[in-house]
Structure formats: C-alpha cells, structure tokens
C-alpha cells in the first residue's frame, strides 16, 4: 500500500461510486459531508441519471429537476467529490489489504472541459442532425451538442460516430475548446470501498410486436410522454409524433414488459402505476379537453399518499379500466384501436385513441455484469445485484467492500432510492474507518459476515 500511495500515477480516494444518478450522488454527498474523499464515475456525458429528465415526481407533483439539480450542483462543487463523466470502468481488482484497484477509461468528448463556456456556438454551426437520445428520439440534436439544458457539466461534446468532420464547430468556437486530438485516457484509483449505483434500464417495448411500438408512430413509451410534459419539452406542447395533432383521447397500457413471463420479466416494476397516474393528471392540466384512459391489471398504490393520488386521478375523471390489452392496430388516419379484455364484463372490446402510451417496466442494468474483473459479483434470479442479507443488510453485495444503492438491487421509486443511498453511505463510512483500523482477516470475519 505504501508503494501505491507513493506512485503519483495512481489516485487515491476513500470510496468510488459507480453511477451519477440520484442514488449515487446522494451516497457521494453523504460520504463527502463526513470528510470522506469520493470519486463518482458516470458513463454518460452528464450526471443526474434518469431523475433529471423527469417532469414531476409522484405523489407530491414536485418538480423533479428542482430536486435533482441542487444535489447535482452541490456534488459538482463539493471539495471532497471528484466527478468523472463519459467514463468507463475497465477493471476492478482487490489487493491483499482489501483495497480495491480500479482502472477507469475517460473517453474523449473532443471538447476541452476547462475552456468550454457552454455557449452552444458549436451546436449552432454544426450541420448534422441526428435523433436526440435525451429527448427519447422525438426531435433531433446536432453532432456537436450540449446534452441537455441542465446538464452537469454543461460542456459540449462531439458525437464522433455521427460527425462528418467538416470542422465547422472548431471554426465557430471562440475559446478554442474543440479538440479533435483527444484520445481515451486511462487512470487508476485505489479505494477502500465501492458503491454500485448503476440504476436500471427501461424495457424495450418494440419487443411486444402486438402493441405496434416502433411501427405505429402514435404509440409512445412513457418516457417519451414524460419528455412531452417537462418545461424543455421537444414540441413545446403535447402532440402526436405521427402528424402533430393535438391528442384528445389518450390510452395508457400498464405492465408493458413487467409482470410478464412471456417477455422474461415476471416481476412488478413498482413505479409504472404511479408514474402513469401522475402523467394522466399532468395531461389533464396541459390539455384540458383530453380524455385519459388507463388499462390496468392491478393498481399498486402502496406508498405513502399513493392511494390518495390514485383517488385524486379518478376524481379528475381519469378513466380506469381493469383489463388486459391484447393488441393495438393503426387506422389510416393514425388513430389507434386498442383491443382489450374488459374484466368487469368479461367481454373483448375495442376503443379508439389518438395516442397510446406504453407504461414500460424497468429491467436490471446489465452493464453491471460487464464490469471487468467482477465476474464473482452475485446477481439475483432477475439479474439485479444479489442482496445476500435482504432483511438485515440489504446494501451489501457478496464481495467485501462493494455495496449497492438505488435500483441496482431491484425496482424501487425515487424516495426509496434516496433512502437506500443514505443507509449505504452510513455503512460505507463505518466500513472505510474499520478498514483503516483492522486487519484484513478480522475485518472479513467481524464486519462483512454480520
């Protein structure tokens, strides 16, 4: 260890947090506020995770970005936190002292972060338009771009896979921040502990062919509708992507890709009922004449204030139909016919809508499996991180010094993600201090297995 500390090419921190979403940042802030040195690695160009892209949170309807951005800002400015974006974990291994050695690769964004002012002159000059993944493909973005308006860091990047190498961005950049000479940079860190907060993936609704996702232009995913409801929305109002019509009848199909053995995801995603009810309420605010119908198997309103939120949606005339949607077909004018089994009457029925929103479930982030050198990290039967002591210590993995926070361990909502991050940071704080004080063997016996 002494050798490592004297090696200037190796950087040292107390903890490494993998993932800069709300759980990762919350854990990092808690640890940093106790004096621990934390490095946060994020594979995306910005921290903030999924939450920074949401409109409002349920059931309070508080502005999601207004909760996320102060934490992002605090973490970015914290003297004990080092945030590295656009970064991959290449290798993780432990030494005889139970310290973790982590090799990171920072990929080039072809923009010098210290020179970029976020002015977007490069974006204006860039002639190339590709689908904007941060707006869930509803509009385009340039190949030279700021990921989104509240990105952190607010620094441009060049999407080199879609760049035509015209050099317009470099000419337009006043401060001279564009730098096509950048190469991937590898660094090595030594840390006492690692928190995996890699979040979740959304179910790919194109896999359910009978719903027409990816084929019918007016079948959206819930995240696409979410983006239509945020202040920085792609259409500046709610419209059908197929023809720009203002929708008057909208249907939600719950449990798309969750509680469904046929698509390989038998478990409940825990958030789809409530985010759909939230969106239904927000739609009624955005489009006063709209009719919203929610097709559901069961409404799972289990959290504090959730059932009241559900009842409130009913009082606002959101129509709830208990029934399984079998198929969706498209009419010539872009309208969509939903064929469903109405549980109340036992009949197969059809109804026509302007727009259908698929409330997609959440899946494990399989990128965890790709973390080099961590083949021994245990996953549960659903491919989330395995909680060995689910009832007594749900935040430990099977590997000493590696913890989990947020949805890396399974579906949960935002408050539970933040709660888990708080709990894990307390555990990690204790673990880091113990590692300094105890020998490897005693640590494993007295701390990890209790």
């Amino acid at each position: 260890m002494e050798d490592i500390l004297q090696d200037s090419s190796v950087k040292v921190a107390d903890s490494l947090v993998v993932g800069g979403g709300i759980a990762g940042l919350e854990a990092a802030l808690n640890l940093a506020n106790t004096g621990q040195q934390v490095v946060v690695v994020e594979k995306d160009l910005s921290v903030g995770g999924r939450m920074i892209h949401l409109s409002k949170v349920f059931p309070t309807l508080d502005c999601s970005a207004c909760i996320t951005t102060p934490k992002v800002s605090e973490a970015a400015r914290h003297p004990h936190i080092n945030i590295i974006t656009n970064c991959e974990l290449k290798q993780i291994s432990s030494d005889e002292n139970s310290y973790w050695h982590v090799r990171l690769q920072i990929n080039p964004r072809y923009v010098n972060e210290s020179l970029c002012t976020g002015c977007q002159d490069c974006e204006e000059a860039c002639p190339v338009v590709v689908r904007d993944e941060y707006q869930y493909n509803l509009v385009g973005r340039k190949a030279a771009f700021i990921p989104f308006s509240i990105a952190s860091p607010r620094v441009a990047a060049i999407d080199i896979d879609n760049c035509i190498l015209c050099g317009a961005c470099e000419k337009a950049c006043g401060p001279g921040a564009i730098d096509f000479s950048q190469e991937p940079v590898q660094t090595e860190w030594v840390v006492k502990s690692i928190i995996i907060a890699t979040g979740f993936k959304l179910f790919d609704s194109d896999k359910i062919i009978r719903y027409g996702s990816g084929k019918f232009k007016n079948v959206l995913t819930a995240m696409q509708m979410e983006r239509q409801l945020v202040p920085t929305r792609p259409f500046n109002t709610v419209l059908r992507p197929g023809d720009g019509k203002i929708p008057e009848k909208i249907a939600y199909v719950l449990c798309t890709g969750s509680r469904d053995e046929s698509v390989g995801n038998p478990i409940c995603s825990q958030i789809c009922c409530m985010y759909s009810i939230k969106q239904a309420q927000l739609l009624l605010g955005a489009l006063p004449m709209v009719d919203v119908t929610v097709y559901y198997l069961h409404i799972r309103a289990f959290g504090k204030g959730f059932d009241e939120f559900y009842q409130q949606a009913k009082m606002m005339d959101v129509n709830f139909i208990k029934g399984k949607v079998g198929r969706i077909r498209e009419l010539e004018n872009g309208d969509l016919v939903v064929r469903y089994e109405d549980i109340a009457s036992g009949q197969v029925m059809e109804a026509t809508y302007d727009l259908v929103v698929l409330s997609v479930g959440i899946l494990p982030n399989m990128d965890v499996e790709k973390i080099a050198g961590l083949e021994t990290l245990e996953l549960d039967p659903f491919k989330f991180l395995n909680q060995r002591h689910e009832m007594t210590n749900p935040f430990k993995t099977n590997l000493p010094g590696i913890f989990m926070a947020g949805t890396a361990s399974g579906p949960m909502d935002i408050p539970d993600s933040i709660l888990s991050a708080g709990a894990v940071s307390a555990l990690v704080n204790k673990y880091n201090k113990q590692l300094l004080e105890t020998t490897v063997n005693s640590l494993e016996i007295t701390s990890w297995n209790d």
Binding site: K142, E170, G176, P234, K245
Partner: protein, 91 residues
Amino acid sequence: MSGKTIDIIKQKIKVPDALRQRHKEYLALRKRIREALADGEATIPEIAAKSGVPADQVVFILMTMRKYNEVVAGEMNDDREYYYYKLKADE
C-alpha cells in the same frame, strides 16, 4: 490545443458513406419543408401535403427546426387540432 485539430482526426477516421447519405437526405427533406413554408404559415398535414414529406418526418424535422430557432409555432387552426408553423424570417 491550437490550430485545426480537425485535420488530426481526419487522418485517423473516415466518414462512413451511409452517414454522408443520411446527412444529404436530411438536408433535402428540410429544404422541401422550408419551401412548403415559403408562402406563409401552415399546419403539419398541410406541410406534408405540399412537400410530399411523410407527416411523421415533417414532425421530426420541423420540431428540430423549432428547437434551433428556424421555425416558430403560431395559433391553432379553427378545428383546434393542429398548430400553424412559420419560418422565423417570416415574423
């Protein structure tokens, strides 16, 4: 890094033909939409009919143009089903 770093990367990678082709197609579609708006404001179905560009592609390109300040949205049509859009220069 000073100077034209674009020349450095040009020596390392080549632009795929498919990417060049997609870029050309996008510019051609955008031109047709701009021409459809040259006479004044129009709804998306009207732009699609005038330009021959499929309505879903009009939505994508027009909303990208709106994002980059080339197009502005106006009032709703009489049926309150569609918004009118016009080129920024027409304001």
